[in-house]
């Protein structure tokens, strides 16, 4: 696969989804979280279609749903987004959590990975959530860092195979 000029990575969150758009591997051009209420698949699809038409990515990166601890709703969204990418003529690929952890080295929990992402993209530091305690639910903005880590994992492996 050729290195894409623009890459969109999406991570479904509890309230909608989070995304990042990268140009190459070095430039972060867009990021954010979208709240889709009521959470329905068609609404998520509409929002993502708008995002694709605005950012015109060459590659969509998602998390592999079969090899993760994601819930049924998130898995359904991920599969729907892969279908949407096909319809929009955007190449897509999936990464597993294990691939992400390998790409970011040990010890690779989500918070450490998010910190590594902010070192690459300091402009994201103001969205960095505090460390989550075991009894707390996940901060929504963590989705931005997850999406960034998916994109960086794929782009890193493309660089190595090039």
């Amino acid at each position: 696969m050729k290195r894409p000029r623009r890459t969109l990575a999406i991570d479904p969150t509890a309230k909608g989804f989070a995304w990042v758009v990268l140009e190459g591997r070095e430039t972060l051009v867009d990021w954010g979280t979208a709240q889709v209420t009521p959470a329905s698949l068609p609404r998520v699809r509409t929002r993502v279609r708008r995002l694709i038409s605005r950012s015109r990515p060459e590659l969509l990166v998602l998390e592999e749903p079969e090899d993760s601890r994601r819930g049924r709703r998130a898995r359904r969204i991920i599969r729907a987004l892969a279908d949407l990418a096909d319809r929009e003529n955007v190449a897509w690929c999936m990464v597993t959590r294990a691939q992400v952890e390998e790409a970011f080295g040990d010890p690779a929990n989500k918070h450490e990975i998010a910190r590594a992402v902010t070192e690459l993209f300091p402009e994201l530091s103001y969205r960095m959530p505090p460390r989550r305690k075991a009894w707390m639910s996940e901060y929504e903005t963590m989705g931005i860092f997850d999406a960034a880590s998916f994109a960086l994992t794929v782009l890193g492996s493309l660089d190595r195979t090039a």
């Binding site: 140009e23 430039t27 051009v29 867009d30 990021w31 605005r54 950012s55 015109r56 402009e123």
Partner: protein, 112 residues
């Protein structure tokens, strides 16, 4: 795609706050500029450049590239016309400028 949103996200300013700084009616106007639904007027373009400290060709890189490509292709057409003119220092100067334009091979969008 323009890079107004990218630059705003880097500053952590909201669309409402940017609208206030640029004396726009509301954040919706900023949103329209960012999504390309509406093209900002010259004063606003310069205001965005001043606000984000980024040159216009960087904020509107895709548009700049497109405009540059159009000029490059029209430069070839104009050069053909100028070649038909009687020889003069003006003609030579114009031809040299147009050849330079045509050789630019588009205007590459600057890195963000």
């Amino acid at each position: 795609m323009n890079y107004l949103r990218t630059q705003r996200l880097r500053t952590a300013l909201s669309q409402e706050e940017v609208a206030f700084l640029l004396e726009l009616e509301s954040g919706a106007n900023v949103s329209r500029h960012e999504t390309g639904v509406r093209v900002p007027d010259l004063v606003r373009v310069l205001a965005y450049a001043a606000l984000y400290g980024a040159p216009v060709e960087k904020l509107f890189a895709d548009e700049y590239f497109q405009v540059g490509r159009d000029i490059t292709s029209r430069a070839g057409v104009l050069a053909e016309r100028v070649r038909g003119e009687a020889s003069s220092p003006f003609r030579e100067r114009k031809l040299s400028v147009l050849a330079e334009l045509a050789a630019r091979d588009g205007h590459n969008p600057p890195a963000q």
